[in-house]
Amino acid sequence: MSDVTLYHWEPNANSGKPMLALMEKGVEFESHYLDLLNFDQHQPDYLAINPQGTIPAMTHRNPKLGDRVLTESTAIMEYVNAAFPGPQLMPDDPKDQWRVRWWMKFIDQWLAPSFSMIGWSVFIGPAVRKKDPRELEAAIDRIPLPERRVAWRKAIYGAFGEEEMKESQRRVAVGIRMLEDALSQREWLACNEYSLADINGFNSTYALPLSQPDLANDEKTPHILEWLRKVYERPAAKKTWAMGKTDMVKRVKLLERS
């Protein structure tokens, strides 16, 4: 039995970050799939592990201290890199490390929420709305964090205002420009080495050529497209995305070079 168990949904956004980091490090882990759309993450057996009911979470067995629980996907990635042998996913240079962290924060807190506001209105809202309304309300009531209850309600009932969606679309356009600029200055997103910033960024942007075809394509953003293909070519990325079950993440196949 493995010392590491990862509780995750699809290789996408937050769940995909520690999945890919573990794969890159060559760490064996037990995969515990939670169906986000079935609200598995708010069921008592998972809340016993992560009372906040957010995905992903990871447990790592310590011989003296037992299973230690880790949450927050970006912080989990830094832990995975530091705690296990295998290839370094943080550059040696402290300024490069700063740039890795800056980009991860920018993506986590500014760019990815805009992507997901659009993604939820396209994928998750319509998928979940097919459920029985009373069952759905009960499921929302079980969400432990009040702000997550608000976010789920907005996503499920398509309650994002026009202004909010417009602002998200504006941010997506700005963010795509910033990614293209950064990737035209250096080999990888934060520095000249592959790092956690690339793992983080890829998880939010792998489907860009399909979801934002007018903004991200071979003509307008050649560096983004090349970068996405380079990441997906990595054996660890192939293995990670092979764990996907939904059509949403199978969009990654568009990155295969012909």
Partner: protein
């Protein structure tokens, strides 16, 4: 390593960066700028994408060997990781995860709330006295549209009731989080003194006057606030203040989470 720190009054993110600098013992040139007058965007200091688009809002900029860097927690990590001894961050991977996760909670929940309540109490009045033309001139070099929108809201006195009550709740929750940690009688939040103490103090110190009720009956936090204030690095940072109450100096901070 040539370091220049452009910093505002010792409160919020500038306090974190200044105290981290003094904790780590680096030699740096200090250049004060007025964050409340949007001076971070002026030609007094160098810029790049990362400083212009920093989602910390108006915070300090550390220039290391010519490269400007922003975001106070990561500046503190940089200052720590360029020492031999890691004085303000644990070297054990799990303890480091605890510190980074704690700081993320502060960055994402507490900082936007504190900045919102802080500018409402202390910056709005100052900005409303500017003529349109003078204010426009201050705003012109700001590259981040959403940061500019926050400046405009403050000047026009647009403060959303929901955001105010959400911010008050976040400050209360932060005080409870700190109390819970200190419950076993420890001196510092995560056991050993770390960047988590600096970042938490930097955002909460100014809240005691504004959100009195949140601190009522909280016994642990008051002792901890006192220990923090007395720490030589923090005391030295506070001694750089040019006004008698630096905890009342607030500039627009990170935005409140758009997802609710």
């Amino acid at each position: 390593m040539a370091l220049v720190l452009y910093h505002g009054a010792p409160n919020g993110p500038s306090l974190t960066a200044l105290a981290a600098l003094f904790e780590t013992g680096h030699d740096a040139e200090l250049r004060p700028i007025d964050l409340t007058m949007a001076e971070r965007h002026s030609d007094k200091l160098p810029h790049n994408t990362e400083t212009e688009m920093s989602i910390e809002g108006e915070g300090p900029v550390l220039v290391a060997d010519g490269e400007p860097m922003a975001d106070s927690v990561f500046l503190a990590c940089y200052l720590n990781d360029t020492t031999q001894t890691s004085p303000i961050a644990p070297t054990d991977a799990f303890a480091r995860w605890e510190m980074m996760t704690w700081c993320r909670q502060i960055i994402e929940r507490v900082a936007p709330a504190a900045a919102y309540l802080g500018v409402k109490a202390h910056l709005g009045g100052k900005l409303s006295s500017f003529s349109d033309a003078a204010f426009e001139k201050l705003m012109a070099p700001i590259k981040s549209e959403d940061l500019k929108a926050r400046w405009n809201d403050i000047r026009e006195g647009v403060f959303d009731d929901e955001k105010i009550s959400d911010s008050k709740a976040k400050i209360k929750a932060a005080v409870e989080m700190v109390e819970a940690k200190l419950g076993d009688g420890r001196d510092w939040l995560l056991g050993e003194f770390s960047i988590a103490d600096l970042e938490t103090y930097a955002w909460l110190a100014g809240m005691r006057d504004i959100e009195l009720a949140a601190f009522e009956g909280a016994t642990g936090i008051n002792g901890w606030l006192g220990r923090m204030k007395a720490r030589p690095s923090v005391a030295r940072a506070l001694s750089l203040a040019t006004t008698p109450a630096p905890q009342e100096v607030w500039a627009p901070g990170p935005e409140i989470n758009r997802w609710g």
